[in-house]
Symmetry: C2
Subunit: 309 residues, 2 copies
C-alpha cells in the first residue's frame, strides 16, 4: 500500500499544482438554480442541494486540481441527509482519483478517538469489521488533547495508507489567543509543530515527507515560515488563501524549494466566484481555479511541480 505522502506527491506532480479546492457548501451562496430545485425548506432538500453542487464542482475541478477538502460542518448542519450527501461527494472525488482531506477537526480521548478514526479511514473498531464511513485520504485533527489522543488516528491512518493534518496555527484572526502563548521561550503553536514533526518522522514516505502534516493559515505569513523551518518533513495544509485574505506571495514560504510540501486551500473564492443568479456558474468556477493556479505558480516554487510527473 502506498504511503500517504507519496500518493499526495504523485497527485500534485501529476496536476502540476498544489491548489486544494475547499468544498464549503453554504446554502445562501449556492447557485439560484440549485436552490430553486431543492428549495422546499427541509434539511433533506438542502442536503440534496449540497450534493448536487458538490458533484458539479468536483466535475469541473477534477481535471485541474489534485486535492479537495470537504468541510464536514456544512454537511452535518443538514443532519443525517447531509452526511449521505457528504458520502456521495467523497465517493465522487475518489472515482476521479482526487486526494480528499476531510475537514472535521476531530479529537477526543483515545478510546473515543478510535471511533472517529474508524469512520474516517476504516478500521477494526466495530466488531472486528472494516467499515469506513468516509474513506478519506486524510483528516484534520485538533492537538489539544495531546499525542495519546492522536494515537488512534495515527494507527488507523497508517493501517490504510492515509494521513493526518494537525491544527498548528489556524487561519482565523483570533487564532493567537492560545496558540501564541509563550511557553518555555516559544509560542504554543511551535510546541505543537515540534510534536507534529516527531510524530511524522516515525513514518516518512519515499518522497522524504511524512504522513502527519500541519495546518497553518495563509493569513499569518511569519508563523507559516517559522513552521516550515521547524518541520521540514511535514506537508503543510495552508487554508486562508483567497477570501480570508492570504495572498499567493504570503504562502510562498510554505513550500520547499522543489515545490513540494504545501497544499494551499481556497474555498469561497473558488466555489462562489459569481452571483447566485449566474447561470454559467460552472465556467466561473473553472476560471477561478485556473486563475488561482496561475497566481500561485507566479509567486511560489509550486511552478516547479509542473512537468515533473
Amino acid at each position: 500500500m502506498d504511503h500517504f505522502a507519496d500518493r499526495l506527491t504523485a497527485a500534485v506532480r501529476c496536476k502540476g499544482n498544489a491548489l486544494c479546492l475547499g468544498l464549503d457548501p453554504r446554502w445562501d451562496q449556492l447557485p439560484q438554480s440549485i436552490r430553486r430545485r431543492h428549495g422546499d425548506g427541509t434539511l433533506a432538500a438542502m442536503a440534496r442541494a449540497h450534493e448536487e453542487f458538490g458533484a458539479r464542482v468536483i466535475d469541473v475541478a477534477a481535471p485541474l486540481v489534485a486535492v479537495v477538502k470537504p468541510q464536514m460542518a456544512f454537511f452535518e448542519a443538514c443532519g443525517p441527509a447531509g452526511l449521505v450527501a457528504l458520502q456521495r461527494v467523497m465517493e465522487r472525488s475518489r472515482r476521479y482519483g482526487l486526494i480528499s482531506i476531510l475537514d472535521g477537526k476531530r479529537n477526543d480521548i483515545a478510546s473515543t478517538a478510535a471511533a472517529y478514526a474508524d469512520a474516517a479511514f476504516g478500521g477494526v473498531g466495530l466488531a472486528g469489521r472494516c467499515h469506513a464511513v468516509w474513506d478519506a485520504d486524510a483528516l484534520t485533527v485538533n492537538p489539544y488533547l495531546g499525542r495519546e489522543a492522536i494515537e488512534p488516528f495515527l494507527t488507523s491512518a497508517r493501517a490504510a495508507g492515509r494521513g493526518l493534518f494537525v491544527l498548528v496555527r489556524t487561519s482565523n484572526p483570533g487564532a493567537g489567543q492560545f496558540q501564541d502563548l509563550m511557553c518555555a521561550g516559544r509560542p504554543l503553536y511551535l510546541h505543537v509543530a515540534a510534536a507534529v514533526a516527531a510524530w511524522g518522522r516515525e513514518n516518512l514516505g519515499r518522497c522524504g515527507l511524512a504522513d502527519v502534516g500541519a495546518v497553518v493559515g495563509a493569513t499569518h505569513p511569519a508563523e507559516l515560515a517559522a513552521v516550515r523551518q521547524a518541520i521540514p518533513e511535514a506537508w503543510l495544509l495552508v487554508p486562508g488563501f483567497g477570501a480570508q485574505g492570504g495572498a499567493a506571495a504570503d504562502v510562498a514560504a510554505a513550500f520547499r524549494t522543489d515545490g513540494l510540501g504545501a497544499v494551499v486551500n481556497s474555498s469561497r473564492d473558488l466555489i462562489f466566484p459569481y452571483h447566485p443568479d449566474e447561470s454559467n456558474w460552472e465556467a466561473c468556477i473553472e476560471a477561478a481555479i485556473r486563475a488561482s493556479i496561475s497566481d500561485l505558480a507566479a509567486h511560489t516554487p509550486m511552478h516547479r511541480l509542473a512537468g515533473l510527473s
Copy 2:
C-alpha cells in the same frame, strides 16, 4: 427563556444528584440480545442497535439522573444511520426533560463554527430558517482556536438558552502534553480556564452560575481543584469518574459547598456493568446508577442538593 445554568441547577436539584450518564454505545459491549437482533453486519443495523440500546438506557436512567451526555463519535462511526439514531436518542431524552450535553468537542474557524452551532442549537444559518439538527441543551467545544471561534457557539447557545462546555483539562492520561505547558507562570489549561470564566461572566443566570462551563477530568484531582478555584461561576463537567479511574473523593473539589457547580460523568461503568450475555442488563444499569449516586453523595457536597427542589 430560561438561562442554561438555571435549568441545569433546577434539574440537578430536582433529582437530588449531579451524576451525568455518558452514552457511549460501543458495539462490542452491547447486550448480546440487542446485537443479535441487529446483527447483519451493516452500519445501518449497528445504528439501530445503538438506538435501541440508547432508548432503553434512557428509560432506566430518566427517573434517576438529570443529565445525559451522548458521545457523537460512536454514532458518527455508524454513518448517516448513526446520526438518525442519535437524533432519536436526543429526542427521547428531551421528552423525559433530561438535560442533554452533546459531546462532540467541535471547533472550527468562525464562519464554519456557526454551522456546527446551528446544528447543535438551531439558528439562522440556513437561509434564515431555524433548524436544530440535535436540539441539544449543551455542546462540548475545543478552545484551541480561541474566543473568536467560540463566538458563534456562544451566540447560538445564548439565543436559545443553551450552554457550552469548553475543554480545559481533559481526562486522558496524556492530556498534559500541551495543556500543562507553562505559559507566563501558569499552565496552559489555567489560561483556558481564565478565558472560560471571562466568557461565562458575560451571562450569569439567577443561580449565579454561567452558561459556559469547563471540562476537567476526574482523573486529575489537583488540576480539578485549581480550576474550581480559578472559575467559581462555571459549571464543571467532570468526565473520567469510574472506569477511567477517578474516584468520588477525587471529584469532591469540583463542587461548590452548596453542592452545585459540578456535573460528574460516568459512561462505561453505568451503561456496561454486566457481561454481554446478561439478560437482566437493565437492572444492572439501574443498580450501577444508584451505586454511583450513593458513592458521590457520601464523598462530595452533592448530598446537599437533595431536598432543595
